[in-house]
Amino acid sequence: MSKKGFFLAVSLAIALIATVVSFTFWLLDQPIADPGEAEMPVDDELALPVASDEELDDATERRIRVTLYLLSDSGMALAPEDREIALVDSVQEQAKQVIRELLAGSRTGLGSPLPQGVQLRELFITPQGLAFMDLSQELISNHIGGSSAEELTVYSLSNTLIANFPAVKRVQFLVEGREVPTLAGHLDLTLSYGRGPRRLEQESTSGP
């Protein structure tokens, strides 16, 4: 009993000290928003680092190059497009940014394998490397159908995530927060998806 009491007292003391220390740091931090220290809020507008005047120079420097998998001219394969985006300190937040960039479409004139109006609702990555990607219902309702287009949609998302984040091994898709049997009536979306087959990354050179 006394042992339990002792641990309780120690835990309380640690918690108290931690609270005081973090509150002090929080007070010290107030004038300058530091995205590195702060816990990332889930809301996407808030997730972007708020740059103060002093920080603006710094913020413009902190960018990373990412690869997005968009649609090739043949309409049968994925085509990579590199671009620089703002660097965020959390992998999860960075992953969300990358998927939002992908959903926004190409800046170099490539087509998009993703249906119109799809929004990223949530994304989280488990320590085992499975990324849960929750997308809005437009993923299904605005999809044009067809096995090829469906494969391109799924692997555009999974390839983009896996190529940019070694922490991600496979992607489990959710639509409006739920697991769905399929996207357009072909692929089994209850399964998780890894990097797509090579045929989707290679442009066929034969034929008309």
Binding site: G75, G145, G146, S148, A149, K169, D188, L191
Partner: protein
């Protein structure tokens, strides 16, 4: 037979057990090597550099000279095939592999590499002592890759030197299922597997110089497989599978990335202790004795599967017109809907198959109605179909995409990795909140896996016919994808994309009755060829397979 040594005697007979994850693997290595040093604390963290090459794994002891870890060059020569020659005045030495070389000088940190004399600065001076040349460890990273013609990877943290691609690591897993026993060999890099069956044993030979595995043997005693044993042979390694009384047939297929050999050992349909069925003495196909599964002399006659006696014939086919009802599928720019085209072609094809091939044909839907994907598969399963064909029209965001394709189920995306991750998530409190349980998932998954070879053959025959007919189209070949409608089918199955409805030209053709007839004829010819093969193979009592590895 004795279990082979996984390490060379040099390492004191200690065995190295690779863990599945690379990080854990490296951790294990660190623990092992530090454990082997056995000199207790206060010593250098690792006293040797571990070399992993195609010939195996060995360790080079590190010497501490003036408290700096150094490596003797002549030790390195043994692994790299390099040579170290001391100059006449003994002030320098040439370390070389073939044409490439580096010159090291006693007491100097600078190394001169190649004919152009590129200078490389090492962290400590090179020392000559007792006729041996000692170099600091960063020599491995900075100089060896420049001189050696091979790919060299050196990891400072673990003191691990990998020459070339290293050697393959093999894992062997066994899965005793109700109807069959599955044995999966998985290798970290592609290796060759040679499967042979003789007597009561199946042997998988792997002709590689060296491989590493923590598998040595396993007793299954499940009737189909008695035991499995991995052994070192003169020309490589071999996995020996001792068959049990209940063994019926063997199916083996290879999968890639990662390189796997999957052996499905099916239970015979007649139990060993059942009544003795008289073996056929006359009227049997004389070629039957030379097929994959001959009646082996060592085997009593009661173990011949009944398939040998009652040849099975492809009798029933389920056709599945894609989509339907409010789920229209893809739509062309001219307004043609996929659900209508697929139904029209399925009806035409069904008529051909029934009237000309004489098989029983079932359509999953014969009207514009909605059916879930699982219902479609269930219809095929419940009607004991021998073949399941799902007919679809394709779509692409680009209107120029064209051509037909035939898909069969990919075991890849629905494979162990997916399941392992799912299991790991479940164990961590993330659950798959779905209608279908994991058990369902595994059972459905397995169902089609057993027919993968047949499905591949079917897909190929169908694609050949569609191709021969549509010479104007580019050959897209057969493809694999984890399609839900094929997942649970307990028969050979394929999904045909007859053309791109989003391509205005193809849309026009797909809408015409003539063209629909022609497509139905092409698919029909593919099914006829498949049936020929199916019936022949079945009458010989062995599962249909494409005959390719």
């Amino acid at each position: 037979m004795t279990a082979f040594q996984f390490d060379r005697p040099r390492q004191g007979g200690a065995r190295f057990h690779p863990a599945p994850a690379p990080s854990a693997w490296l951790l294990g290595l660190v623990l092992l090597t530090s454990g082997l040093s056995g000199k207790g604390f206060g010593q250098d963290r690792i006293e040797r550099v571990t070399v992993i090459g195609p010939q195996g794994r060995e360790a080079i002891p590190i010497s501490l000279l003036a408290n700096i870890p150094m490596l003797p060059l002549d030790e390195l020569d043994r692994f790299l095939g390099s040579s170290t020659e001391t100059s006449a005045d003994a002030a320098s030495a040439t370390f070389s592999v073939g044409e490439r070389s580096a010159v090291v000088s006693s007491g100097r940190s600078m190394v001169r590499v190649g004919v152009e004399g590129k200078l490389v600065l090492l962290s400590a001076p090179i020392t000559a002592r007792g006729g041996h040349w000692f170099v600091p460890l960063d020599f491995l990273k900075k100089v060896v890759p420049l001189v050696s013609g091979q790919r060299i990877t050196y990891e400072e943290a673990t003191r691990l030197l990998v020459i070339g691609e290293g050697f393959p690591r093999l894992t062997v897993s066994t899965f005793p299922y109700p109807g069959y026993t599955r044995i999966v060999l998985e290798s970290s890099s592609p290796i060759e597997y040679q499967v042979a069956q003789a007597g009561d044993r199946v042997r998988v030979a792997m002709p590689v110089g060296y491989l590493e595995s923590d598998f040595s043997n396993e007793e299954l005693q499940d009737g189909v497989v008695q035991s499995v044993m991995l052994t070192r042979e003169d020309d490589g390694y071999a996995l020996s599978i001792n068959l049990g009384d209940r063994f019926g047939t063997l199916k083996a297929f290879q999968l890639e990335s990662p390189s796997r050999m999957v052996l499905d050992l099916f239970r015979s349909r007649v139990p060993a202790d059942a009544e003795i069925i008289p073996p056929p003495t006359s009227g049997m196909d004389p070629t039957a004795a030379n097929t994959i599964e001959p009646p082996l002399p060592s085997r009593p006659p009661d173990r011949i599967p009944p398939a040998d006696l009652t040849p099975r014939i492809l009798r029933a086919i389920t056709l599945d017109p894609g989509h339907g009802g409010p789920e229209t599928g893809a739509t062309g720019s001219g307004g043609l809907q996929e659900k209508d085209v697929t139904l029209a072609i399925a009806r035409r094809l069904g008529q051909l198959l029934e009237t000309r091939l004489g098989v029983r044909v079932l359509l999953t839907r014969d009207s514009d109605t909605y059916l879930s994907l699982d219902e479609r598969t269930a219809i095929a399963n419940n009607n004991k179909s021998d073949l399941f064909l799902s007919i679809h029209a394709n779509a692409s965001p680009r209107p120029n995409a064209s051509g037909s394709e035939v898909y069969y189920l990919s075991y890849e995306a629905s494979d162990d990795e997916s399941r392992r991750l799912a299991a790991a998530e479940n164990a961590n409190g993330f659950s798959r909140s779905v209608g279908n349980s994991d058990l369902d998932f595994i059972l459905w998954d397995m169902a089609q896996a057993a027919y993968l070879n047949e499905s591949a053959t079917l897909a190929e025959l169908l694609q050949e016919e569609l191709q021969a007919y549509r010479t104007d189209e580019r050959n897209r070949g057969i493809k694999q994808a984890p399609f839900r409608v094929l997942m649970g089918a307990t028969m050979a199955s394929a999904l045909i994309e007859i053309g791109f409805i989003t391509n205005p030209e193809e849309e026009g053709r797909l809408g015409s009755g003539d063209y629909q007839d022609q497509l139905a004829q092409a698919i029909y010819r593919g099914v006829v060829k498949y049936k020929e093969r199916f019936d022949r193979q079945e009458s010989m009592g062995s599962p249909l397979s494409s005959g390719r590895p």
